[in-house]
Structures are given as structure tokens and as C-alpha cells.
């Protein structure tokens, strides 16, 4: 792949990443042009109107002019264009329209905690097992209730997410303790996980590879260590991986009330 100037952005690996990148590039080119034109005018004024003993002040056209609103109008038009043709539709595409129905997305729960990312896949039955906060302990970080039949085949991982390339994934994002933020720079994806809420996030990875998942919201003293990996595989490899992780036999249900 040839090198192209891309404002320092990391490689893009999700379906909506090019849309975000083009916006960032467009705005930065516009900013650069505005700043250069404006800086040239500014420099010209400083030189042209520097203090000279023999040149007086010219008061023409200074107090009642509306020309200081001209740049405003230009900026307004640019911004209105950005809002209508870029921000609102792309925002709706990324944050408001979630895969479902016949799209059959890969679904998973991501449950953040200080300082780890817990991941729950529903397993072959396609149903998430019930979680209860009172069942959380060292061996059961998400409090999975193994008395629930749907929980028997669930796959629980820490700091590791596997996704098939080219398919949409729907992530149900939640947290056990404080606010965290699910950020994968290559996906151009960021979403806070808020205590008491379950927030849907979708992504369609386009490139196989391993990407870093890092918490993007201050969550405590080890915030910078709260990382994980997102492994994007071809659909076949993903299915093979999922099978290899499925519990071989029904998991042992803990006796009621026993947390260990």
C-alpha cells in the first residue's frame, strides 16, 4: 500500500472509519486554508499599518461597517454544509442505526471494570446467560448465573475480543464500577460505558488483524494499563475459534448462595 498523507491517523479497519477520516481531512484542510489566508492578511496589516512618524491614522470605514461579518457568513455556510450533509447523516449511521433483524450481527457483551475488559459471547444457543452482581467473584468476574440454562454455553473472556471481518458486530457495553470508555483507534470507535446503563455499539471490521482496545476515560490509578486486544479474523477462522472456546460439557452450577 502506498503511503498517503492522512493527518497522522492510524490505519482504518472498520466500515465507517473512512467516513470519519474524510471528515477529519476535510476540516483540517479547511482550517489550514483559513489560517493561512487569515495569517497572510494579518501579517500584511502589521507591516502596512506599522507606526511611522509621517503617516497618520486613517479613520475611513472603521466604525459602522458590517464587513467584520463577512468571514462569519463564509464560516456559517461551511458549517451549515458540514452539519446537514456530513455530521447528522453520518452520526445517525454510526450511533443511531443498529444492526438487527435479517442482518444477524455477531452479538457480545463487553463488561468493563477496573482495570479489565470482560467479554461474554452467547455461545451456540445465541442467548446470553443471566448475570447477577452478587455472584461476582475472582473466578466469575461478570457474575454469570450458571443455574440459567442459557449460561451453560456462554464464552467468557478477559481483555480479548474476536470478531469476524466483513460482518457487523453488536456490542452491548456496560460497566461494573466506574465510567470507562471503549476505544479502538483503528475502528475510529469510542463509546463510554456508564454504570447503570447498557449502551449498544456496532462495528463492522473490514481488515483482519489485531488491534488495541484501550480505555479512553479516566478510571483510576491503572487507567493506562486497561487495554485489551481485538482480533479480527476471517469468518471461517472466527467460527473455528468460537467452537474451540465453547465449553465442552455443561458447566457446573454453583450451589445457591455459594459464591466460591
Amino acid at each position: 500500500m502506498s503511503y498517503a498523507f492522512n493527518w497522522g491517523l492510524p490505519p482504518a479497519a472498520a466500515s465507517f472509519a473512512p467516513e470519519i477520516d474524510s471528515g477529519i481531512a476535510l476540516i483540517h484542510w479547511a482550517m489550514l486554508i483559513i489560517f493561512v489566508l487569515w495569517g497572510a492578511f494579518f501579517t500584511y496589516l502589521l507591516i502596512r499599518y506599522r507606526h511611522r512618524a509621517d503617516v497618520g491614522v486613517s479613520l475611513d470605514d472603521t466604525t459602522h461597517s458590517l464587513k467584520s461579518l463577512v468571514p462569519d457568513v463564509i464560516v456559517m455556510i461551511f458549517e451549515i454544509g458540514l452539519i446537514i450533509f456530513y455530521a447528522i447523516p453520518v452520526w445517525a449511521h454510526i450511533k443511531m442505526k443498529f444492526p438487527g433483524g435479517n442482518e444477524d450481527p455477531v452479538e457480545l457483551n463487553v463488561i468493563a471494570q477496573q482495570f479489565a475488559w470482560n467479554v461474554q459471547y452467547p455461545g451456540p444457543d445465541g442467548k446470553f446467560g443471566r448475570r447477577k452482581p452478587e455472584l461476582i467473584n475472582f473466578y466469575n468476574p461478570i457474575g454469570l448465573d450458571l443455574t440459567d440454562p442459557a449460561a451453560q454455553d456462554d464464552v467468557v473472556l478477559a481483555n480479548e475480543i474476536h470478531l469476524p471481518a466483513g460482518a457487523k458486530a453488536l456490542i452491548h457495553l456496560s460497566t461494573l464500577d466506574v465510567i470507562h470508555s471503549f476505544g479502538v483507534p483503528e475502528f475510529r470507535l469510542k463509546q463510554d460505558a456508564v454504570p447503570g446503563m447498557e449502551i449498544p455499539v456496532w462495528v463492522k471490521p473490514t481488515q483482519a488483524g489485531t488491534y488495541e482496545l484501550a480505555c479512553a476515560q479516566l478510571c483510576g490509578f491503572a487507567h493506562s494499563l486497561m487495554t485489551g486486544v481485538v482480533v479480527v479474523q476471517s469468518p471461517d477462522q472466527y467460527q473455528a475459534w468460537l467452537k474451540s472456546r465453547a465449553p465442552a460439557k455443561p458447566q457446573q452450577a454453583a450451589a445457591p448462595g455459594a459464591n466460591f
Binding site: G56, D61, V70, W91, P195, A222
Partner: protein
């Protein structure tokens, strides 16, 4: 309204310089205290910058002096990093720039510019300063109190702040500081509206006074929600309520004993309802100062005085409806994001209008590159960078990627440091002769200016590059994340520049101290400026004006055709005008 008998200044040292009621003494108290807090906040960030550039290595010189609990072997811990981060933000904003731009400059200059003999409520003014002082000292002393300093960022997001140590002291200090600002805001509004000299109609007010009045309204309306929120968070911590804690949380394996029903998003909304107007509290006084300096140093009236005033008023109103652009990816309804996207784009309009008016003010002028003017000129392009880089952050889609990266750090430091602080420094050089009857040294002023401007760009511009690479803010060790490594050397550029920036403050500090005692003596109006503060002696005596001034003209009567001088003071009656 003032309770002192003017002409009979209080004699005792305590009443005159410590528990003072004279607006000028209080202004200088605020001035010196806020600079000390700014320097402390800056020192904190130097330690953080070392950690960012060279994570996991001992801090040179001072590392061994820090308690081994916080920095074993001189190497900073994550807890200390988070404490310094929270305290840096709090000190710079609430104890540094707001008290400097609003309280220090406002206290000293506003009554003079409206021809008043003092503030409307001198004793409230004194209470305001001392609440600020006590709140600030308490905030700083949290480092040596049990639990240490707050560790949850200046934003103190719940529920992290509910569980972290040190937060209680932060909240109590904030309540004191906010109360101080509220008292100040009431005082400024009352003074500015009621105590104007005869003839000084609202549209004859200098831009600086307008800026202070709008700032007062912002403080008055935006701070109470944060004060209430701080009290609620305090109750969550000490009385075990759960205003911001939902049910069912498990922290480090332990179920949180809270009844639940609270909302972390509620804290974010309350915080940013203050937080965004706060940005303009930091900025408007700076803009006012820049306007004053430009008018005096171009020798012509400001371009578009009314456009500037109306724009400031518009900013005052609009800044209350943009707060949730800090929360695009917070989990609030994405539909709300669209509303705040639109309001955010709208608020750029008055800001651009003010900046454009400043630039057009140069046209046709006779620009004197005095030291204050250099600062005022630097404000324009540098604040311009700060404003422009707000665009991709205010736009919902691009914010998904840039949110909480170093890009936002670069953005708001360009606004607040190369914007507000640059302007405030210019204000110091501009009004120093009024305060002390002496000038600051020009040569060292220029050394301070060029060194600071270069170093500030060296500190903050790399942050845009780091941010575009996708590096998050508030990382104690950025190298712990692999995707941060390609841009890491920019952190070293930034850190070295921060050290240089501190170095270039030495000429400034020495210049101020030297100027107070040994500076070149000046007359009452060294800049040949027109506004009322230059019509009283330097420094003004108790009671300010020898006889109450009367105002005859618009504020910026420079180069009035036919007048014998190129400046026509507001208080000089002249029939040709």
C-alpha cells in the same frame, strides 16, 4: 454605597493591606495570589510532563523529595499522576485564571473605568477574596491531608470521584471557591450597572467593562448548579446518599453499599452546565483586555465596537446551551448530540465576529509594537488556532475519534494558555504603570514575550499530532499502549518546551518585582489612552478620583479629527467631537 470615608484611608496595616476593603488592594491581593497558584499549577504539570515523556524513570532533582508513598525511588505512581492532573486543572482554572482575569483585573480596573470610587459592596469584596484564599489553601493542603489530593480529574466524574480518596477536600474547597466567585459576580454587576459616572451610558462603556459584566452573569448563573452538584457529591461521600450512584455496582470485587437510583450522567450534565460557560469566563476578560490594548496601540477606535459588545452578549446566552458537546460519546441519547452540534456551530459565529473585529481594528491604524501590544497581537492567531481546532471536536462525527485524545488537550490549552494567559500577561504590562506608578522593563518584556510564545507552541502543538495518532489523555504511562508508540517522541518535544516555558517566566517574575520597586517612574497616562482609568493618578489614591469624573465621549476617542492631540479622553469636554 461604600462604607469607607474617602480621603480618610484606614490607617492600620491589617485593615489597609490584609483585610482590605479598597478595591485596588483587593485587586492586587487577587493578582499576586492567582499568579502564585498559576505557578504552582504549572510546576505540577512539569512533573506530569516528565512522566509523560520518560515514563517510569525517576523525576530529576525533585523526585527524591516526594514522599516514597507517592513516588518510590523518585518514580511517579499512577495515584500521584492522577492527583497532579486533577489539581493542575483545578488550580489553573478555578484558582488561577478566573481569579486573575475576572477578580484581579476586574477589581482593579472596572471601578476605575466607570469612574467609581470603589466597588458597590467593599466588605462583600473582602469576603470574596478571603473565601477564595481559604478555599485555595485548603485545596493545596489536600496533598498533606489524609487521603491525599483528589484523583478524579478536574471534572470529577461520578462514580469514580465517589470512590476515590481525597475527593471530600476537593468538594469542600470548591464550595468555598464557588461562593467566592458568586459574591464577586454580584458585586461586579451591581457596581458596573449602578455606579457609572454621569454621562457614561452603556454604549460608552469600554469593552473590558462589558466583558466583565457578561462574565459576571455567566458566573452568577452557571456556578450555582455546580455548587449544588458538589454538595450532592459531598453528601454521597459523607452521608451515603446516592445521587450519582446507580444500584448494583461492584468495585474491585466488593458490592457497593448504596441504595442506587443515581445517575452518573446527571453529574456530567451538571458539571458541564458550568463547565462550558466557564470557558467563556476564562476567555471574555482576556478578549476585553486585548480590545483595550489594541485601541490604545493602533491610535484609532476599535472596529465594530457594537458588533463586539453584541457578540459578547450572544456568547453569554449561547454558552448556556452548548454544554453537552462535551458528552457526545458519554452515552446520552445520540439525538441530543444533534441539538448540541447545532448550538456549538452557532456559538462560533460571535467568536469569529469578535476576532474579525480585532483584526480589522488594525487596518488604517498606526500600530505601536509596545510590549502589551505584542501580547495582544499574539492572542489573535494563537486563539485562532484554538478556535479552529474546536471545529472537529464540536462536530459529532469527528469527535467520536478525537474525543478525550490529546487533540482536545491541545485545543483547550491553545484557547486558555495562548488565548487567555497571553492576554492576561499583556494586561499586566498594560496596566502595571497604573498600579504602581512605574513601568516594567521593555527589553525583558520582549524576552518574556518571544520566549513564552515560542515555548507555548512547542508545548501544545505536538498535542494535536499525538491526538490525531489516537492517544488518549490522562494516561499515566502512554507507552503502556502500543498504538501510542509511533508518536511518542512528540511528548519529549512538548516536555522540553514546557521546561523552557517555565524558564521564560523568570524574566517576567523578576521584571514585576523589579518594576514595583525600581521601575522607571511614569505619569498617570503613559500610553496616552482615553478611558477613565488613565484620568486618575498612578497609583490611584484611596477613593480614586480627585473629583468625580464626567463622561462626554465614546470610549475610544483616538485620532479625533481636529483635536489637538491624537487621543481625546472620555472625561474631557470638547465641542468638536
Amino acid at each position: 454605597m461604600s462604607d469607607d470615608q474617602h480621603g480618610h484611608a484606614p490607617r492600620s496595616f491589617w485593615r489597609r493591606y490584609v483585610f482590605a476593603t479598597d478595591h485596588k488592594v483587593i485587586g492586587l491581593q487577587y493578582f499576586f495570589t492567582s499568579w502564585v497558584f498559576l505557578l504552582i499549577g504549572f510546576t505540577m504539570v512539569l512533573l506530569m510532563r516528565w512522566e509523560l515523556a520518560y515514563p517510569g524513570t525517576p523525576i530529576p532533582f525533585v523526585g527524591r523529595l516526594i514522599s516514597p508513598l507517592l513516588a518510590p525511588g523518585g518514580i511517579m505512581t499512577g495515584e500521584l499522576y492522577n492527583s497532579l492532573g486533577a489539581m493542575h486543572g483545578t488550580l489553573m482554572i478555578f484558582l488561577g485564571i478566573v481569579p486573575l482575569g475576572f477578580a484581579a483585573f476586574g477589581n482593579y480596573i472596572l471601578p476605575l473605568q466607570i469612574g467609581a470610587d470603589d466597588m458597590a459592596f467593599p466588605r462583600i469584596n473582602m469576603a470574596s477574596y478571603w473565601l477564595y484564599f481559604v478555599g485555595g489553601v485548603l485545596m493545596l493542603s489536600s496533598f498533606i491531608l489524609p487521603g491525599g489530593a483528589a484523583q478524579s480529574g478536574w471534572t470529577s466524574y461520578a462514580p469514580l470521584a465517589e470512590f476515590n480518596p481525597g475527593q471530600t477536600t476537593w468538594l469542600v474547597s470548591m464550595v468555598l471557591i464557588i461562593t467566592s466567585s458568586l459574591l464577586g459576580a454580584i458585586n461586579f454587576l451591581t457596581t458596573g450597572i449602578n455606579m457609572r459616572a454621569p454621562g457614561l451610558s452603556l454604549f460608552r462603556l469600554p469593552v473590558f467593562v462589558w466583558a466583565q459584566l457578561v462574565t459576571s452573569v455567566l458566573l452568577l448563573l452557571a456556578f450555582p448548579p455546580l455548587e449544588a452538584a458538589a454538595v450532592l457529591q459531598l453528601m454521597d461521600r459523607v452521608l451515603h446518599t446516592s445521587f450519582f450512584i446507580p444500584a448494583g455496582l461492584v468495585v474491585l470485587g466488593t458490592k457497593v453499599a448504596a441504595s442506587g437510583g443515581g445517575s452518573p450522567l446527571l453529574w456530567e450534565h451538571l458539571f458541564w452546565f458550568l463547565g462550558h460557560p466557564e470557558v467563556y469566563v476564562l476567555l471574555l476578560p482576556a478578549m476585553g483586555i486585548v480590545c483595550e490594548i489594541i485601541a490604545a496601540n493602533t491610535r484609532k477606535p476599535l472596529h465594530g465596537y457594537k458588533i463586539i459588545v453584541y457578540s459578547m452578549l450572544a456568547i453569554g446566552v449561547l454558552s448556556f446551551v452548548v454544554w453537552a458537546h462535551h458528552m457526545f460519546v458519554s452515552g446520552m441519547s445520540p439525538m441530543l448530540g444533534n441539538f448540541f452540534l447545532v448550538t456549538t456551530m452557532i456559538i462560533s459565529v460571535p467568536s469569529v465576529a469578535i476576532l474579525t473585529s480585532m483584526i480589522y481594528s488594525l487596518q488604517g491604524g498606526s500600530i505601536r509594537f509596545s510590549v502589551p501590544m505584542l501580547f495582544a497581537l499574539a492572542f489573535m492567531p494563537l486563539f485562532g488556532i484554538g478556535g479552529l481546532t474546536g471545529l472537529p471536536l464540536g462536530l459529532t462525527v469527528t469527535d467520536i475519534y478525537l474525543h478525550d485524545t490529546y487533540y482536545i488537550i491541545g485545543h483547550f490549552h491553545y484557547v486558555v494558555v495562548t488565548g487567555s494567559i497571553i492576554a492576561l500577561m499583556g494586561g499586566v504590562y498594560h496596566w502595571f504603570p497604573k498600579w504602581f506608578g512605574r513601568k516594567m522593563n521593555d527589553f525583558w518584556g520582549k524576552v518574556h514575550f518571544w520566549g513564552s510564545v515560542a515555548a507555548m507552541n512547542g508545548v501544545f502543538f505536538p498535542m494535536f499530532i499525538i491526538g490525531l495518532h489516537g492517544e488518549s489523555r490522562r494516561l499515566y504511562d502512554p507507552t503502556a499502549q502500543i498504538h501510542n508508540l509511533p508518536a511518542h517522541y512528540w511528548h519529549i518535544v512538548s516536555t522540553v518546551s514546557a521546561g523552557l516555558l517555565m524558564l521564560f517566566q523568570l524574566p517576567f517574575i523578576i521584571n514585576v518585582i523589579h518594576g514595583i520597586f525600581w521601575g522607571e517612574k511614569t505619569q498617570e497616562n503613559p500610553w496616552k489612552a482615553t478611558t477613565l482609568e488613565w484620568a486618575c493618578p498612578s497609583p490611584p489614591p484611596h477613593g480614586n478620583f480627585e473629583k468625580p469624573p464626567r463622561v462626554y465621549h465614546d470610549p475610544y476617542g483616538y485620532s479625533v479629527p481636529g483635536y489637538r492631540e491624537d487621543w481625546l479622553p472620555q472625561n474631557v469636554e470638547w465641542e468638536g467631537a
